[in-house]
C-alpha cells in the first residue's frame, strides 16, 4: 500500500516535471556546434550581444525570432573560422555599437566610461579644498586673542549663567 502510494506520487511528480519542462526545453531549439570549443566561443558571444527586439536581454537569453537568427549567424561565422572580433564586426556593421551589451571604449563613449570617475575626482578635490580652508580658518580664528572688551563681555555672560 505504502509502495503503491509512493509510486503514484512519483508518477504525478514526474508527469508534473515533464509538463513544466516542456516549454523550457522548447526555449532553445538551436543546433549547437559539434566542436565543444567553438560552441563555447559562440555561447560567450551570444551572452554579450544585445537582442535588438527585446533590448534589455542578450540574444542568449531571448526567444525572439531575430535573436534565434542572430545566434545561428554567430554559430555559422564561428564554424567558418571567423574570429570573435570579426563576428562582432559583422553585427555592429548592421546594428551599430548598440548591439554590443558592453559599449566599446572610443571617443564617443569617453564620457560614459570616464565621466563617473572624473566627477568623483572633481568632487573629492572640491571637498578636500573646502575642508582645508575650513581648518585654516579655524586655526586663524583661534590664534586671535580676545580683546579686553570681549573678555569682559564673556565673563559677564558666564556670571549670568551661574
Amino acid at each position: 500500500m505504502k509502495v503503491a502510494g509512493g509510486t503514484l506520487l512519483g508518477g504525478i511528480v514526474s508527469l508534473w516535471l515533464a509538463l513544466a519542462a516542456g516549454p523550457g526545453l522548447a526555449f532553445t531549439p538551436d543546433e549547437p556546434l559539434a566542436d565543444a570549443a567553438l560552441e563555447a566561443r559562440a555561447r560567450a558571444l551570444h551572452a554579450e550581444l544585445r537582442c535588438m527586439v527585446c533590448q534589455g536581454q542578450s540574444i542568449a537569453d531571448s526567444n525572439a525570432p531575430l535573436a534565434q537568427d542572430m545566434r545561428a549567424i554567430v554559430r555559422e561565422h564561428i564554424a567558418a573560422g571567423a574570429s570573435d572580433d570579426a563576428v562582432r564586426g559583422f553585427l555592429t556593421d548592421r546594428y551599430g555599437d548598440y548591439v554590443l551589451l558592453d559599449p566599446p571604449v572610443k571617443p564617443e563613449t569617453y564620457a560614459l566610461w570616464f565621466g563617473p570617475a572624473a566627477v568623483f575626482v572633481a568632487g573629492a578635490a572640491i571637498a578636500f579644498a573646502l575642508v582645508r580652508r575650513a581648518r585654516a580658518g579655524a586655526r586663524d580664528a583661534g590664534a586671535a586673542p580676545l580683546s579686553a572688551e570681549e573678555r569682559r563681555r564673556l565673563d559677564a555672560l558666564l556670571d549670568d549663567d551661574a
Binding site: 527586439v53 537568427d69 549567424i73 548592421r94 546594428y95 548598440y98 586663524d140
Partner: protein, 201 residues
C-alpha cells in the same frame, strides 16, 4: 547694549572678508550645474523613443542581396541590390503578413503607390509564401518590385529589428534614412517627402 551691538560688527569685519558679488554668484554655481544637468536629462527622457535605434547603415550603400519573387507575384520578378542603383531615389519597405503594424500602414503605402511620385519597393520578411500571397491579394500590392526574404538574412543585412521598417535610398544606392514602425501621413509629410525633395535638389 545697543551701542555695543553696533560696535561689534565693525570689530568682526576684518576677520570675515566682505562677501563680494562674484563670490555670491559662486555659491549659485552648484544650482546652475544642477539645473543644466536636470534639463539635459529631462530632454533625453521626454523626447524620442529610446527603443528606436538609429541605423548603422545611414549613408552606407545598401547591402548586397538578391531576393526571389514573392509567391503569386512572379511576373514582376524579384528584388536585388542592382534595382536600387539606377539613379532614382526610392523607398524600401520591409513588411510581413504576420506583422500587425504593417497592416496599419498598408493603406498609406497604397496611396503612395497610386500617387506614383516615388518608386516603392518591398521586402517580404520571414513570411510564409501562402500567407504573403493571400495578404497582398486581399489588401493590394503597393510595391513596384518585391522580394521574398524567407530566412530573414537579407533583413539582418539591412539591420532590421522591428518591422515595419522603411528606408529612403538615394540614386547612388545609399541608405539615407530609416523609419522604424508604422509610417504615418505625418512622418511622410514632415520627414520622408522633404528629405526626398532635398535629395532631388
Amino acid at each position: 547694549m545697543a551701542e555695543k551691538g553696533t560696535d561689534a560688527p565693525a570689530e568682526e569685519a576684518p576677520a570675515r572678508a566682505p562677501v563680494s558679488a562674484a563670490r555670491r554668484l559662486r555659491y549659485l554655481v552648484p544650482m546652475f550645474l544642477f539645473v543644466a544637468l536636470a534639463a539635459a536629462l529631462g530632454v533625453q527622457l521626454l523626447t524620442g523613443d529610446p527603443g528606436k535605434v538609429p541605423s548603422a547603415l545611414i549613408d552606407k550603400p545598401v547591402p548586397d542581396f538578391t531576393l526571389p519573387p514573392v509567391q503569386g507575384f512572379e511576373d514582376a520578378g524579384g528584388f536585388a541590390t542592382a534595382d536600387l542603383q539606377h539613379g532614382e531615389i526610392a523607398l524600401v519597405n520591409i513588411f510581413a503578413s504576420w506583422c500587425g503594424p504593417c497592416r496599419v500602414e498598408h493603406p498609406l503605402l497604397m496611396a503612395l503607390a497610386d500617387a506614383g511620385t516615388i518608386p516603392l519597393y518591398g521586402i517580404n520578411y520571414k513570411d510564409t509564401p501562402d500567407d504573403a500571397e493571400r495578404w497582398l491579394g486581399r489588401l493590394g500590392n503597393p510595391y513596384t518590385l518585391m522580394g521574398a526574404d524567407l530566412d530573414g538574412r537579407t533583413g539582418i543585412d539591412w539591420g532590421v529589428y522591428g518591422i515595419p521598417e522603411t528606408f529612403v535610398v538615394d540614386g547612388a544606392g545609399r541608405i539615407r534614412h530609416r523609419h522604424v514602425g508604422v509610417l504615418s501621413q505625418h512622418d511622410l509629410d514632415e520627414t520622408i517627402l522633404p528629405l526626398i525633395e532635398d535629395l532631388r535638389g
